[in-house]
């Protein structure tokens, strides 16, 4: 499917998600509590997607690999080792701005 408005439904019914390292894709999947394997595109120069994927992996929220190691990752993965992902807190941002403008 070329450009769907939202993958929310598909994500909801999936047991495992394999995705590129785009922040939106990763966060949406993790927020739905789905196990995620992130595949890094080696050929993308200036790979800033890599920073987020590596950090999420370091924190134990996702598995990651590149295109050539995907099959091996799928064969040896242990999804139960993945930690649940705590959501972001935009309230903290709102609080911060309120303080800046003396709106508290």
């Amino acid at each position: 499917f070329r450009f769907k408005d939202s993958l929310a439904e598909d994500l909801q019914s999936a047991d495992l998600v394999i995705s590129h390292a785009g922040a939106g894709s990763c966060l949406e999947t993790l927020e739905k509590g789905k196990p995620l394997i992130v595949v890094i595109n080696d050929k993308l120069m200036d790979n800033h997607q890599l920073e987020l994927a590596k950090q999420l992996h370091r924190d134990g929220y996702v598995l990651y690999c590149n295109c050539s190691t995907l099959v091996e990752t799928l064969q040896s993965m242990d999804l139960s080792a993945l930690k649940p992902f705590p959501p972001g807190q935009p309230e903290k941002f709102a609080s911060f701005l309120d303080k800046v403008f003396g709106l508290q």
């Binding site: 922040a23 966060l27 987020l52 972001g88 935009p90 903290k92 709102a94």
Partner: protein, 175 residues
């Protein structure tokens, strides 16, 4: 409040940032790059939902030329950004926002520089708040590197960046 919306992910992130703001942060003026198709729909949808709770809610949408394509060269980026400033300066002058909120797309550089300039000229003092994208864990985006020096508050979402850029504010993950 003036909000700079960038392509795709940037817009999603910035709308999340706006989600908990009270109605004191109104009206909201959104600025988009002229070539951005998808952000407008997301913004309208966000504002529509907001209007369900806050009926007096007001917003507007303006477009300026895109300042830089992905991976455009440094030199040509300076030229295209200057061109965008020709549009962002009158727009910022017209809106005279108290607060500008942005999170990294190239579009925010001309807008913030315009506001900074209007501040220097004592026409309007705007508070510039920059929130670096959650994707940026260890390094800043190009917009971030520039606006670190021009923003009033520079917010990062990962502790490594706070260490590297001590003047920044760290609130944890906020999107």
């Amino acid at each position: 409040l003036l909000v700079v919306a960038g392509s795709g992910g940037h817009t999603t992130e910035i709308l999340r940032l706006l989600s908990c703001l009270s109605e004191s942060y109104s009206p909201r003026h959104y600025v988009l790059a002229d070539s951005d198709k998808m952000s407008e729909a997301k913004i309208r949808s966000f504002e529509q939902k907001r209007a369900e709770t806050f009926s007096e809610s007001q917003f507007s949408l303006d477009r300026i030329p895109r300042s830089r394509e992905v991976r455009q060269s440094w030199i040509s980026s300076v030229v295209t950004t200057l061109y965008s400033i020709l549009y962002s300066l009158p727009l910022t002058f017209k809106r005279k926002p108290d607060l500008i909120l942005c999170n990294g797309p190239g579009t925010c550089v001309p807008v913030c520089l315009s506001a900074f300039l209007l501040g220097l000229l004592r026409i309007k003092r705007t508070t510039i708040v920059y929130v670096e994208s959650i994707c940026r864990v260890e390094t800043l985006s190009l917009s971030g590197k520039i606006l670190y020096y021009f923003s009033d508050y520079f917010i990062v979402q990962w502790p490594d960046l706070k260490k590297k850029y001590p003047k920044s504010v760290y609130l944890g993950r906020i999107v």
